[in-house]
C-alpha cells in the first residue's frame, strides 16, 4: 500500500511548457518534443471518451501522462438555479444525470425542506427511497452497458440496455415519465403510487434480480475480463481517501463508506442496508461494486415496500411561492449511483435561492484518473476510465 501520492500530483505540469509565460488551455500549450512520445487527443469525438477529452501521452503502448479535460457540456445549472424559485428549479436540476434523476434531485429537495421547514409525510419518505433505489439501478445498468462495450463485449452492452427497460417501465408507472421524472418535490413526491404498484414492483424487481445474476456467468466470471481488469489501475486505500474519491471507487478500495449507512437520510436508518466493500482497488473491483449495489438496491426496495404505510398523504401542500427564513445555508448529501452527491443552498429570504452549489461525485472520481492511468497500457485506458463511475455531463454541471 503506497504511503504517499506520486510526486507529480498536478499532472498538467508535465504537459504545459513552464518557460512560456502566457497561459494556454491544455493541449494548445507548447511542449517539449520527445521523439518517443506520441500525444493522443482521446475525445471529444472518440468512441471511448464521452463528452470530454483525455490528452494522453503514450510511449509505445504505455501511457506516460494523462490530462483529463472536462467542460465540454457545461450548462450553467448552478447559475440557472439562481433565477428560478425553489419549485421551478426541480426540472432542470436533474439534467446533469438524467439516468439518475431522482438521486441527483434528492439533496436539493432535502435541503429545501430544511430551509423552508417542511415536515414530510412518512409514506412519501418510503416512496422516495423506492424511487431513488430504482433509479440507482437504472443508472448502473446504463453505466454497465457502456463498460461492456468499452471492453469490446457487445452482449454486455445489449443485455443491460434491454433489461433497464423493466425498471424504466416501472418508473413510468410511478412517475409518468420514463427518464426525467421530476418526481421529488419539497414536501414529498409529486404523485402517489398507482393502485397495484406493490405487486408489479415486486414481480419486476424479482425478475430484474434474476437477470442481473446471470451477468456473472457472461461478464464478471469471464476469464478474459478478469485477466484484463485485475491489477490494472490499482487505487490504494490511502490514495482513495486522499484523492477524495467517493462511492463505488472508494468502496472498491476497501473503505466502508456508504452515506445511506453513515449519514442516513429520510428512512434509510429504518432499513437494513449492507454496504459492499472490496479490498483490491483495481478496475475489476470498481466494476463489480455497482453490480453488487444493484442487488442491494433490490433488497432495499423489498424492505421499503414491506414497511411502507399502506395509505396516507405523500405531499405537503406548499404556499404558491415559498420563501426561505432570512439568510440561511444548508448542505445535504445523499449516496447517488456514483457516490456522495451534495447540494449547498444559500437562501437570502427571497423566493429564489441565492446560490445553489452541487458537489458532484463524478468530478471527485475524475481526479483519480491521471494517477491511475500513469504507467498503464493503452489497452487499459477504457476500462480504468469508465470503472471510475464518471459521468462527464454531471462533472461539468
Amino acid at each position: 500500500m503506497a504511503t504517499e501520492l506520486p510526486s507529480d500530483v498536478n499532472s498538467s505540469e508535465v504537459l504545459v511548457d513552464q518557460t512560456s509565460s502566457k497561459w494556454l488551455p491544455p493541449g494548445l500549450a507548447l511542449q517539449k518534443v520527445d521523439e518517443r512520445i506520441m500525444t493522443l487527443n482521446v475525445g471529444p469525438q472518440h468512441p471511448g471518451s464521452g463528452h470530454m477529452r483525455l490528452i494522453v501521452q503514450i510511449d509505445g503502448d504505455y501511457i506516460v501522462a494523462c490530462d483529463p479535460d472536462p467542460g465540454y457540456v457545461h450548462r450553467g445549472e448552478e447559475k440557472m438555479a439562481e433565477y428560478r424559485n425553489y419549485i421551478t428549479n426541480i426540472p432542470h436540476l436533474e439534467r446533469p444525470v438524467i439516468h439518475d434523476s431522482c438521486n441527483v434531485l434528492y439533496p436539493y429537495v432535502l435541503g429545501v425542506e430544511e430551509l423552508l421547514g417542511i415536515e414530510v409525510p412518512e409514506r412519501a419518505k418510503y416512496v422516495r427511497v423506492i424511487a431513488s433505489e430504482l433509479n440507482r439501478c437504472i443508472y448502473i445498468m446504463y453505466w454497465l452497458a457502456i463498460y461492456g462495450i468499452f471492453l469490446g463485449h457487445s452482449t454486455m452492452f445489449m443485455w443491460p440496455a434491454g433489461d433497464r427497460e423493466l425498471l424504466i417501465d416501472l418508473m413510468e408507472k410511478m412517475t409518468g415519465a420514463r427518464v426525467t421524472h421530476a418526481h421529488f418535490v419539497p414536501g414529498g413526491v409529486r404523485n402517489d403510487l398507482p393502485p397495484n404498484f406493490e405487486e408489479v414492483c415486486l414481480r419486476q424487481v424479482a425478475y430484474f434480480e434474476k437477470r442481473i445474476k446471470e451477468y456473472a456467468a457472461i461478464f464478471y466470471d469471464n476469464p478474459i475480463l478478469i485477466a484484463r481488469t485485475r491489477d490494472t489501475g490499482v487505487l490504494s486505500r490511502q490514495d482513495a481517501i486522499r484523492l477524495g474519491t467517493t462511492g463505488s471507487v472508494l468502496r472498491a478500495s476497501g473503505v466502508d463508506y456508504d452515506l445511506r449507512q453513515k449519514e442516513p437520510y429520510d428512512v434509510y436508518e429504518e432499513l437494513d442496508i449492507h454496504s459492499n466493500v472490496m479490498k483490491e482497488g483495481d478496475s475489476y473491483a470498481r466494476s463489480k461494486i455497482p453490480w453488487l449495489d444493484m442487488m442491494e438496491s433490490c433488497n432495499i426496495i423489498r424492505q421499503a415496500l414491506q414497511k411502507m404505510p399502506k395509505s396516507g398523504s405523500v405531499r405537503v401542500k406548499l404556499k404558491p411561492n415559498p420563501k426561505g427564513k432570512g439568510l440561511d445555508t444548508v448542505y445535504k448529501r445523499v449516496e447517488s449511483g456514483r457516490g456522495s452527491l451534495g447540494c449547498y443552498i444559500v437562501s437570502d429570504g427571497k423566493p429564489e435561492p441565492y446560490r445553489v452549489k452541487l458537489s458532484v461525485p463524478s468530478f471527485r472520481n475524475l481526479i483519480a484518473l491521471p494517477y491511475l492511468l500513469k504507467g498503464e497500457k493503452l489497452g487499459n485506458m477504457p476500462s480504468v476510465y469508465w470503472s471510475l463511475n464518471y459521468w462527464p455531463v454531471e462533472a461539468d454541471r
Binding site: L40, D61, G152, S154, M158, I224, R228
Partner: protein, 432 residues
C-alpha cells in the same frame, strides 16, 4: 422470427416482386444481352459440334435448349468461370454475404434483440445490399497529408489478396481455381501478405490512430503466423503432401481432427487472431483507438476492406475444413442424375427432347460442394460465436498467448504426428 413487420401486406409484397421481375427482364434485354455479346466477343471461344462458336452463332443457339446447354457446359470448363463464378470469387462472395447476414441475426438472437428487420421485407435479408449502396454513395475523404497512391491501393490490394487466398481452396473434387502442388505454401505466402497491406494502409494514412492500429495488426499477424504454420505441419507430415486437394482427398475415411485435435485447436485460435475477430480484434479496438487501421478509410474503400475481411473469413474456414474436417467428403445425399433423360429424352407435350449437355454437374461434385458448404458454415459459426461471449484481450496477453502457449502446443502436435507416423498408425495417404 415471430414478429411481423408493421404495415406488411401480402398483396403489396407480391406486386413489388412482380415489379422487380419486370425490371430485371427489362434490364436483361437492354443491358444483359449486349453484355453477353461483348463478353463472347472477347473471350476465346470453344469449338462445339465441329464449328467455332462465334457470338452470332451463340446468340442464335441460345433459343434452342439442346444447343444452349453445351455452350454453358463449355463455358463452365473455362478458367474465367472458375475464377469469377464457381469455386472462386463469386461463390466466395455469396457465402461471405450470407455469413454477414447470419452473423447479424445470430448476434441479435444472442443479445436479445431483433437485428436487421425491415430492409428486404423478409427478415432484413437485403440489409447488406442497403449497406453496400450506402457505402458506394458516400464521399471518399482522404487525409490531406496521406500518401495517396498507397492509401488508394491498400483496400484494392486487400481484396485482391483475399481473392487469391480464396482461389487456393478446393471446394469439390477437381473444383479449385489454382490446383498447385505447393498449395499450403501458397496459403502461407498469401497470409504473409496481409500484414504488409495493413501497415501500408495504416502508415500511408499519416494519422495517429491508424498508425497504432496498423502496428498492432502487424504485431498480431506476425506473431500468430508462426503458430499458424507450425500447427499445420502435423497435417503435412501425416499426408506427405502440400497440395490442398490431395490433403482433402486423403481424408476419405476419417478427418484429421480425430488424430490431430491439438493442431486443429491451435489453428482455430490463430485463425481468430489472423482474422481480427473478437476476442483478438485489437487492431480495430473501438474504445481505445477509434477503428484502428480502418479509421481514415471512408466510403467504398471501407466497404472493400470489409469485403476482403469476409472473403478472408470464408477462406480460412474453408482451409480449416479442407485440412481437418475432410473437405468435401461426406455421405452421398444428392440423388443420381436420371440417365433416361439422356437416352430417352424429356416428354414435353407433343415432342420428345433429348438434351445432350446434361448433366451440367456430376453427382460427386454437387455432393462435395454441399458438404463443403455445410462444414465451412459450421466452422464460421464457431468463429462468430466468441464475438458474443468474450471481451477483447490486451496486446500483452495476446503476444503472451501466441509466443509461449500456442507455439508450445504446436510442438506437442508435431510430436503426436511424428508418433503416429513412427508407430505405423498413419502413413502418407492415410491409415496404414
Amino acid at each position: 422470427m415471430s414478429v411481423i413487420a408493421p404495415n406488411f401486406k401480402l398483396s403489396k409484397f407480391i406486386v413489388s416482386i412482380l415489379g422487380d421481375v419486370f425490371w430485371i427482364l427489362f434490364l436483361i434485354v437492354l443491358v444483359g444481352i449486349p453484355a453477353i455479346f461483348i463478353i463472347l466477343f472477347f473471350i476465346p471461344l470453344p469449338v462445339i459440334n465441329g464449328e467455332l462458336l462465334t457470338p452470332f452463332l451463340a446468340l442464335s443457339w441460345l433459343v434452342n435448349p439442346t444447343l444452349t446447354l453445351p455452350i454453358v457446359k463449355a463455358f463452365m470448363t473455362t478458367d474465367i468461370f472458375r475464377v469469377m463464378a464457381f469455386p472462386g470469387f463469386g461463390f466466395a462472395a455469396l457465402l461471405a454475404a450470407s455469413v454477414i447476414f447470419i452473423e447479424r441475426k445470430m448476434m441479435a438472437k444472442l443479445q436479445l434483440r431483433v437485428g436487421p428487420f425491415y430492409c428486404g421485407k423478409v427478415e432484413g435479408i437485403l440489409q447488406l445490399m442497403g449497406d453496400g449502396l450506402k457505402l458506394i454513395s458516400k464521399e471518399i475523404i482522404i487525409p490531406a497529408k496521406a500518401d495517396k497512391p498507397l492509401f488508394w491501393a491498400a483496400p484494392v490490394l486487400f481484396v485482391a489478396t483475399a481473392a487469391a487466398f480464396v482461389a487456393l481452396i478446393p471446394v469439390a473434387p477437381g473444383w479449385v481455381v489454382a490446383d498447385v502442388d505447393l498449395g499450403l505454401l501458397g496459403v502461407f505466402a498469401v497470409i504473409g501478405f496481409f500484414p504488409i497491406i495493413t501497415i501500408l494502409s495504416a502508415w500511408s494514412a499519416n494519422s495517429k490512430y491508424p498508425f497504432i492500429g496498423g502496428i498492432r495488426a502487424l504485431f498480431q499477424m506476425v506473431s500468430f503466423e508462426i503458430p499458424l504454420i507450425l500447427s499445420l505441419l502435423g497435417v503435412v507430415m501425416v499426408t506427405g503432401t502440400l497440395n490442398l486437394s490431395e490433403i482433402a482427398a486423403s481424408q476419405s475415411s476419417f478427418p484429421w481432427i480425430i488424430f490431430l485435435p491439438i493442431g486443429a485447436i491451435v489453428f482455430f485460435i490463430t485463425m481468430l487472431a489472423e482474422l481480427e475477430r473478437i476476442p483478438f480484434d485489437l487492431p480495430e479496438a473501438e474504445s481505445e483507438i477509434v477503428a484502428g487501421w480502418l479509421t481514415e478509410l471512408s466510403g467504398m474503400m471501407y466497404g472493400l476492406v470489409q469485403l476482403g475481411t469476409y472473403l478472408k473469413l470464408y477462406a480460412f474456414a474453408g482451409l480449416f475444413t479442407v485440412l481437418f474436417l475432410a473437405g468435401w467428403h461426406g455421405p452421398m445425399v444428392i440423388p443420381p442424375f436420371p440417365s433416361e433423360l439422356l437416352t430417352n429424352g424429356l416428354e414435353m407435350g407433343p415432342i420428345t427432347l433429348t438434351i445432350d449437355g446434361l448433366p451440367l454437374f456430376t453427382q460427386e461434385m454437387l455432393n462435395g460442394t454441399l458438404w463443403f458448404v455445410i462444414k465451412t458454415m459450421a466452422v464460421i459459426f464457431f468463429i462468430i460465436l466468441p464475438r458474443g461471449v468474450f471481451p477483447r484481450v490486451r496486446v500483452d496477453m495476446l503476444l503472451n498467448l501466441g509466443w509461449t502457449k500456442l507455439i508450445g502446443l504446436c510442438f506437442v502436435n508435431i510430436f503426436i504426428a511424428l508418433g503416429l507416423l513412427y508407430a505405423g498408425v498413419l502413413g502418407p495417404g492415410g491409415l496404414q
